[in-house]
């Protein structure tokens, strides 16, 4: 695309949306950036305020985001931007018929963020997937184990420094007894 159109995109993203203003008022120190590229309202917040912002988004009547739509991360290694990881949360409110994207930046050597599994039940598996794929540690998650890959898998496949053609050794068959001992005396 030409220079002109990317300039236009920059202009488009300077207007603060309604929710951005609300969050800026409620959490004056937490909001570090915002844009609404192509109409997707996006707010970047500090990690420390993340959990309280999420409960606010769910419980406050001006927000009432009932559905936690999606949770993922972006590895920005090849974009040469620091900090390396960006957590991306999508919320949907049925009451007010709107969406919000919340982003939190995480440094490579400290990729931890508070778990919000107690706010939406969908988060449980999403956080497991994000841990599996990116190695993000969700503090307070009750059962943070791999979900799509197997337990013995080494590394986190969606990180940009994980080679796409890397192969890992085949596993030995597991003993059946290890898996369940319910109802047995052993």
């Amino acid at each position: 695309m030409s220079e002109g159109s990317s300039k236009k995109d920059m202009e488009e993203s300077t207007e603060a949306g309604e929710l951005t203003n609300l969050l800026q008022r409620e959490f004056p120190n937490a909001v570090t950036g915002f844009h609404s590229h192509r109409g997707d309202e996006t707010v970047v917040i500090e990690r420390d305020a993340f959990e309280s912002v999420c409960s606010f988004l769910r419980d406050d009547s001006r927000c009432s985001f009932e559905i936690m739509m999606d949770l993922t991360a972006v590895d920005r290694l090849e974009m040469e931007v620091t900090p390396r990881f960006e957590m991306v949360y999508h919320f949907k409110s049925l009451t007010h018929a709107r969406r919000l994207r919340l982003k939190v930046h995480l440094a490579e050597d400290d990729c931890k963020i508070a778990s919000i599994h107690h706010l939406w039940k969908a988060v449980d598996w999403y956080e497991r997937e994000c841990y599996d794929m990116f190695g993000i540690q969700f503090e307070g998650h009750p059962d943070l184990r791999r979900i799509l890959m197997y337990e013995e898998f080494e590394g986190h496949p969606l990180r940009k420094d994980y080679p796409i053609d890397k192969q890992q050794p085949l596993l030995e068959l597991k003993e059946v007894e290890e898996r369940h001992t319910y109802g047995r005396d052993s």
């Binding site: 695309m1 159109s5 990317s6 995109d9 590229h37 192509r38 997707d40 996006t42 009932e66 559905i67 936690m68 739509m69 999606d70 993922t72 972006v74 590895d75 920005r76 090849e78 974009m79 991306v88 999508h90 049925l94 018929a97 969406r99 994207r101 939406w120 039940k121 969908a122 449980d124 598996w125 999403y126 997937e129 794929m133 009750p142 059962d143 791999r146 979900i147 799509l148 890959m149 197997y150 496949p157 969606l158 940009k160 994980y162 796409i164 290890e178 898996r179 369940h180 001992t181 319910y182 109802g183």
Partner: protein, 408 residues
């Protein structure tokens, strides 16, 4: 050893938090089990015939869709999307292409959008037919399954006529579709829809008031609105709980705001409600297709914007602009402007969302799919605990898990 998911059980005599170790038996259902629709494993903990704990294990069909996509050009992702929800591949094609179009900030021509609506609704019908047919077969109504598969075949022949393939369609492009309506397509379409309507009314008589069927599905897998929202349900399962959320109506995309259709909702969210919602959605989809076919405008099926579509061969060989555009599109690929977007569409199972990040180059930085049945399967313990082990079959059938989409 994995932790048991436990919930308060509605069956008399079982309370959560009790020590079951003396009486509880564990049974593995799947990964290779005929009722497991593809491959997923449920470790169920049973007290007698009642489920007291369940741990779903997914990922058996993980093929690294997101990783492969991020190592491809933007246009090379479209064939991968065929393999996500392989019962309604066109909806995935449409979702991804519309997401990239949103990244570009363009819209496809109106004729392309109307064609997409027709093909998307055909795919939604095939998705629902497969789901309902499979549920019915697994609980004994084999005739229903055969009739629905017959009806699905009528529609897949249309898909084949349009895209050249029944399942691996690879049909949409950025800013349009791979081809226009083939000759006589609209006639074939109305012919097939009439046949489909016959099958629907026959099957309606066969099953909707069938006592054996109702006994197996009514009151099974009920789910409250609050839980459904918290688990991130979308699509027919959320609507069966009584919440009229449909992306086609809530965030209208394409030309759905010009078309008239109803959103069916259930009341208690059990398997019977899900059955009725899906049956009604098939009828509504037929209604949408008929309107779109009537309103089909004339015009191009592909945008003429430069650097979006491959130039015609006469331009490639005839003038320098065409040659250079062709060279750059092949060598460097499409280059959407830098930015990030989330584009939801209504898939067969619910909200199918693509989150794309571009840095302005030819390779996607991030291609993320929000798979609707991921959330649905994550709620399997909550839906099944307290029910009998035989109820797993209708509950899991009505969830309509598609491994290719969930595991990616």
């Amino acid at each position: 050893m994995t932790e048991m998911n436990t919930l308060e059980s509605p069956i008399k005599g079982i309370k959560s938090g009790e020590d079951y170790s003396a009486s509880v038996m564990s049974i593995e259902i799947g990964p290779a089990h005929p009722a497991m629709h593809g491959i997923v494993r449920f470790t169920t903990h049973l007290d007698g015939e009642v489920i007291v704990g369940m741990d779903p294990e997914i990922g058996y069909l993980h093929r690294g869709f997101e990783k492969e996509s991020e190592n491809s050009k933007w246009i090379q992702v479209i064939p991968y999307t065929d393999r996500l929800n392989y019962v309604s591949p066109l909806l995935n094609n449409i979702g991804y292409s519309m997401a990239v179009e949103k990244l570009y900030g363009i819209e496809a021509p109106r004729r392309a959008e109307f064609t997409r609506v027709i093909m998307g609704e055909i795919s939604r019908i095939t998705d629902h037919l497969t789901c309902l047919g499979a549920v019915a077969m697994e609980i004994g109504a084999f005739t229903f399954f055969l009739w629905f598969i017959k009806a699905r075949e009528y529609l897949w022949e249309l898909v084949e006529e349009m895209s050249g393939a029944r399942l691996t369609t690879n049909w949409t492009r950025f800013g349009g579709n791979a081809n226009d309506l083939p000759d006589g397509f609209l006639n074939d379409l109305s012919d097939r829809l009439a046949k489909l309507k016959d099958v629907m009314s026959e099957c309606d008589k066969l099953l909707t008031r069938n006592k054996i069927f109702i006994d197996r599905v009514k009151g099974v897998g009920s789910f409250s609105k609050e839980d459904a929202l918290s688990f991130g349900f979308t699509g027919p399962l959320l609507r069966a709980c009584g919440i009229p959320y449909d992306v086609r109506r809530a965030d209208p995309y394409s030309v759905y705001d010009e078309l008239d259709f109803e959103i069916p909702v259930g009341s208690v969210g059990d398997c019977f409600d899900r059955f009725l919602v899906r049956m009604e959605e098939i009828r509504q989809s037929i209604h949408i297709i008929e309107q779109a076919a009537d309103k089909m405008p004339e015009g191009p099926f592909m945008t003429d914007e430069r650097m979006l579509h491959y130039p015609d061969k006469k331009d490639v060989y005839g003038n320098i602009e065409g040659l250079i555009d062709h060279f750059k599109l092949v060598m460097e690929g499409h280059q959407p402007p830098a930015g990030e977007i989330y584009m939801p569409i209504e898939g067969g199972n619910g909200e199918l969302g693509f989150y794309l990040v571009s840095d302005g180059g030819g390779d996607p930085v991030r291609v993320r799919l929000r798979p609707p049945c991921f959330n649905l399967v994550s709620a399997m313990p909550a839906m099944t605990i307290g029910h009998y082990v035989a109820d797993i079959v209708p509950i899991f059938g009505s969830v309509n898990m598609i491994g290719g989409e969930m595991d990616r």
